[in-house]
């Protein structure tokens, strides 16, 4: 396994080191200064996540107001480094109770050092699973008063558990009420031409699960995906039901899923870890139901005036509604005055991002809404280069709607004691990068 990091630094936005840990001595302690002067203080920050300066590679990522920088001098596995950072942040979040920012780091120095010692050894990533680490790094983080209350936990034999057959679940759990929460979260990425042709479209989805189940339950999940349905009908030797089947690409499962059974029976069966986890991830490129249609018309009237007309149509079911819809319509840099008329929501001009921002709190299905704006530009001395017309961007959330059409057919729970469980299923579709050229 390749090295992932020689040292890891946590910097705030000004470039001060909050905390750091050196795993190998092949990078000097002052390399972080190079990062500060050559990356943070230049305009290139954020352009490229991996930079090489003075024989060292800097792999960095910004999480809220913290830069996490991995410094490597050897030929490291960058993907491994990024994954490590993502997992570490998830771990910290689960320790701190949700928030990960400069203040959380400042409040948890000791805990973070302890965790950093544990999750990486001589540059090689180690176990990052919160469930397991929490067994032996028992020092509680300082929780913010709003996060959930700590639970009492016995201190079992960590070694036994890690080396056991079901490393991700402790034995002897018991809940009064056995509940399973299943969330399907999809984000839609779209690039559409001004004429309404789809240039690029895909959906990335996650199946998130939260289990509060006693004992060692065995779960089985059925989705309306193509492979699973075909296999099922084959096994039961009856024709597949008519209706929509979804073809999933690039499926990845959590480690708890029994892959042998998935390979032979195409069913997702697993013993879940306790608490929250991501069961599977997938991607869909065909048959995507777009939740919104956008029809922009932008006219440049001479050098100092523009007319913008944007019509947004919701094409999901009439009973559903979208929340937090934001349409960002780019305008030239020299915009001086704007005049709006909107059917719903509110719009304003934001000069720091050079966009008209149109916000609609609640957008029912099968309706449409328009914005028309008159824009006055100031004349400039600069050379007359034409405006590049960046795409319109959109943000939204549509609950109980999946752009892919994916549905949970069943979720079965078996346990020796045979208790009853309550299953909750939720769907939500969000905008990823939802862009319409204008």
């Amino acid at each position: 396994m390749p090295v992932a990091a020689s040292a890891i630094y946590f910097l705030n936005l000004r470039g001060d080191v909050l905390i750091n840990r050196t795993y190998r001595d092949d990078v000097g302690g002052n390399m972080v200064d190079a990062f500060r002067t050559h990356i943070m203080q230049t305009k290139e920050l954020g352009n490229c996540p991996v930079r090489q300066i003075g024989g060292c590679s800097f792999v960095y990522m910004r999480i809220s107001n913290v830069y996490i920088v991995i410094v490597v001098s050897s030929n490291a596995n960058v993907a491994c480094g990024f994954k490590f950072v993502v997992e570490a942040v998830a771990l910290f979040k689960s320790y701190f109770g949700g928030a990960f920012d400069e203040d959380a780091i400042r409040n948890n120095f000791v805990l973070i050092y302890e965790l950093l010692d544990e999750i990486m050894d001589f540059g090689y990533p180690q176990n990052l699973s919160p469930e397991i680490l929490k067994l032996y790094i028992t020092q509680e983080g300082v929780r913010s008063p709003f996060s959930s209350k700590p639970k009492d936990k016995p201190v079992p034999n960590a070694t036994l558990q890690v080396t056991g057959a079901v490393g991700w679940r402790r034995e002897g759990l018991s809940y009064k009420k056995n509940e399973v929460f299943l969330d399907i979260v999809e984000s839609v990425n779209l690039l559409m031409s001004s004429k309404g042709n789809v240039l690029r479209c895909d959906v990335t989805g996650k199946v998130l699960m939260k289990c509060f189940l006693s004992g060692m339950p065995d779960l089985k999940l059925g989705l309306n995906d193509k492979i699973g349905l075909e296999k099922e009908s084959e096994m039961k030797s009856r024709p597949a039901k008519s209706g929509k089947t979804i073809e999933l690409d690039d499926v990845t499962f959590h480690q708890c899923v029994n892959l042998t059974r998935f390979n032979s029976e195409k069913t997702v069966s697993f013993v879940p870890p306790d608490g929250e986890f991501e069961l599977m991830k997938y991607r869909i490129t065909e048959g995507v139901n777009l939740p919104f249609r956008v029809l922009p018309t932008i006219k440049e009237l001479g050098r100092t005036r523009m007319e913008v007309n944007v019509k947004v149509k919701s094409v999901f079911g009439a009973k559903m509604f979208a929340l937090g819809v934001v349409v960002k319509i780019p305008v030239p840099k020299q915009t001086a005055k704007t005049n709006f008329q909107v059917t719903t929501g509110r719009a304003k001009y934001n000069p720091s991002i050079d966009c008209l921002v149109w916000k609609i709190r609640k957008f029912p299905g099968q309706t449409e809404s328009t914005l028309s704006a008159e824009i006055e530009l100031i004349s400039t001395m600069g050379e007359k280069k034409s405006w590049t017309r960046p795409p319109i961007q959109m943000e939204f959330q549509v609950p109980m709607f999946t752009a892919s059409g994916l549905r949970v057919r069943f979720l079965k729970v078996w346990e020796k004691s045979g208790y009853n469980t309550v299953e909750w299923v939720r769907y939500i579709t969000k905008a990823g990068s939802y862009e319409i050229r204008c």
Partner: protein, 1004 residues
Amino acid sequence: MTGMRGLSVFISDIRNCQNKEAERLRVDKELGNIRTCFKNEKVLTPYKKKKYVWKMLYIHMLGYDVDFGHMEAVSLISAPKYPEKLVGYIVTSCLLNENHDFLRLAINTVRNDIIGRNEAFQCLALTLVGNIGGRDFSESLAPDVQKLLISSSCRPLVRKKAALCLLRLFRKNPDAINADGWADRMAQLLDERDLGVLTSSTSLLVSLVSNNHEAYSSCLPKCVKILERLARNQDVPQEYTYYGIPSPWLQVKAMRALQYFPTIEDPSTRKSLFEVLQRILMGTDVVKNVNKNNASHAVLFEALSLVMHLDAEKEMLSQCVALLGKFISVREPNIRYLGLENMTRMLMVTDVQDSIKKHQSQIITSLKDPDISIRRRALDLLYGMCDVSNAKDIVEELLQYLSTAEFSMREELSLKAAILAEKFAPDLSWYVDVILQLIDKAGDFVSDDIWFRVVQFVTNNEDLQPYAASKAREYLDKTVIHETMVKVSAYILGEYGHLLARQPGCSASELFNILHEKLPRVSTPTIPILLSTYAKLLMHTQPPDPELQKKIWAVFKKYESCIDVEIQQRAVEYFELSKKGADFMDVLAEMPKFPERQSSLIKKAEEVEDTTDQSAIKVRAQQQPSNALVLADPQPVSGAPPPLKVPSVSGSTDPESMARSLPQPNGTPSPDVLSDLLGPLAIEASPGDVSTEQHGPIGAEGVPEEVGGSAIVPVEEQTNTVEVIGNIAERFHALCLKDSGVLYEDPYIQIGIKAEWRGHQGRLVLFLGNKNTSPLTSVQTLILPPAHLRLELSPVPDTIPPRAQVQSPLEVMNIRPSRDVAVLDFSYMFGTKLVSAKLRIPATLNKFLQPIQLTSEEFFPQWRSLSGPPLKLQEVVRGVRPLALPKMATLFNSFRVTICPGLDPNPNNLVASTTFYSESTGAIICLARIETDPADRTQLRLTVGSGDSTLTFELKEFIKEQLITIPMGSRALVPVPAPVPPVAQPPSPAALADDPGALLAGLL
């Protein structure tokens, strides 16, 4: 600015930003805000406008693009109140530059402020114009600013600014100041008492004088007076005294201005200036305080360059040198650097070399300075000051330093050492020693040119050969030697190894063994040289040594299948040749002497140095080289080889060796023959291959013919790095007969000529046309007039702009009859390429002839009165270009010798007359008679007569030249008698005719 809350809030917001991104967001927000406000229909209050414009300036200063709001800024200029005007002027001069159209809107307002009565406004306006004023401003404002500058009612503050403003306007548009009218006023201005105004005015003066020093000659004594005043510290207010030095800025400027005047004629002015300079030179010393040092040294160095410029008395110059010598020994590196630099500049001035030499040891110490820039200066200086007397020391010092010098300097160092060794060698063996040592110590940095040059010298000096061979042999004893050393030693030992045969350890087989040891470690280009050496060793072994032969054949056999074609060819050829016996001896005989030419090293160094302005090379070029090397060679180092080169080589040897040496004379014009010869393709293939092809034993072996052919040194004109379009000689010949046409053309330039002749005077105009889209720089024209012509060429601009034509009139006056021709030495740079050409000016004898038609009554008495030699000369000319009579008549008419028809009763004869004009002879009638033989048109009898014997002879020769078959270049061949072997015939005349160098020499 006080009380502008919005602005201070904005600035503090920006200062409180945690990072760049937050700052950008804040700035973008503010810009949006400003845009909205500027766009609002409501008229902005002056306060608000001012506030936003200040904000814009602040944002601009932070580095963000502010590309709007210029209108508002410019409009503030016309505001009535000072605070608004201030903002307007400041922001306009920061945000706009002279090319902005917006500024046009402001010209009128600015003008009103300038001619207005308010001093504060005047200052603001003058500052704006002084910073961003362009041509438009210059055209409309110059008279007003001038008025302001000379007006007595203005305060010095305003006039100071006016002077600087005028300077800007003058720079933008030199026509803004009319030299005739302004010169007197300028002189008056220099009488000013206020030092501030004086300083600004002197800045203006420096610029004016640099443009046209003649018009402002009246200012010269004033400058001296200013200097006197400052030097005596008279009437210098406290605020203009800087660390006890009275206004150093003004001193420097005044001295700078003085340097633009060519000389100072007036003895009293000169005397007082020298007094001042003397005072400055004496009074400056190194002190503790850095600022004081800087100021006093600025003055001092300016004074030094003024002294150099004025060509002061020797005493003063040596005083300067002594002062500089003191600086060199100071610890402070800046001063030492300046000292060295100025001393290098001093070298340009004659007569001070000796006093500089006194500091040689100190300069050598500077070569070890920790600061590289000082080391470089020291190296430059050493290089510049080197001459015959101290060459040995300096070169040895450089060699010693070479082993410790850092890598970036080594190449330059070795090149310079090589050049100095070559130029100033007291004796040749020392030169060989130095170069071998150089190669030994810094082989990596020794370019091929350097070792080519050694080989060239050794080949050309027989006395040197045994010494060089034994030296080379000594170096081979070292276990590790540089590859270049292997090349040199192999070459020298191959050629001259046999001269050592008697010495122990130098028999052919021993030489072979020691050289062969090196073979496995050398790179491909060296192997051919080694192979040649083996072949030569084998050839020199008499009687043949069978054992050595076996070994060498084994080597040849081994390389017969080498992948490198050069090595393979040599191996095959040498192997075959070595079986041939006698032919082998011929082919591998000693290399002939190299023709003398300018050292390619010096050329290279010139190229390298061209960029640095105080190049010591230029100094070098002025100095006489040592005689040692020249004595050893029959030809002078500089200048083109004499035309008799061919016979002198060929005449002294038997025909066979001449055939061998043929490629050499052919190659004469090429400056790089040596490198051609020593390059891998041709190290000695020239003699070898010529014979090979003549004897033809190898073609059958399958060696490609063209490879052999290519090994012959190409006979090409290479002085010009560009390809000349058309034949120069033909163009010249055509121009001899007509008055306008193209004299020279290459891809970059075309030189046309147009001439008018009147009596003994003529006026030619040279048209230099740049054919390119980029300028031609360093254009230089130099006329080399023969004794009988007086020529005056108006200066040609240094640069010819793209696609432009420059005219340069040339006045010609003929003093006495002669056929010699003036030569134009013409050169220019295209990019980094130097092109030069020597062109004959078509101001030939016939141009001073005036056609005249004589009747028989006039002709015959005169013809008879010219009784015989030397006034009348007769000659039978053979080898004439066959021409029909009418054509011959046209030819005569074309060079203005009028044919008088019907005078001679014999129809085969021509009678001609003309008038010749020159300053010494006045107008003289010349008569000529040509008797042709209808049976043989290649010969005729020519009789020429005139009242002046020289003229008769010259005219006769001139007509003869025109009639002979090959008019051009034939003169160079004249001394070459018939026994030129047939092989030599084809290339020589053409090559010589095309070579301007040879032509030039022949003509001069």
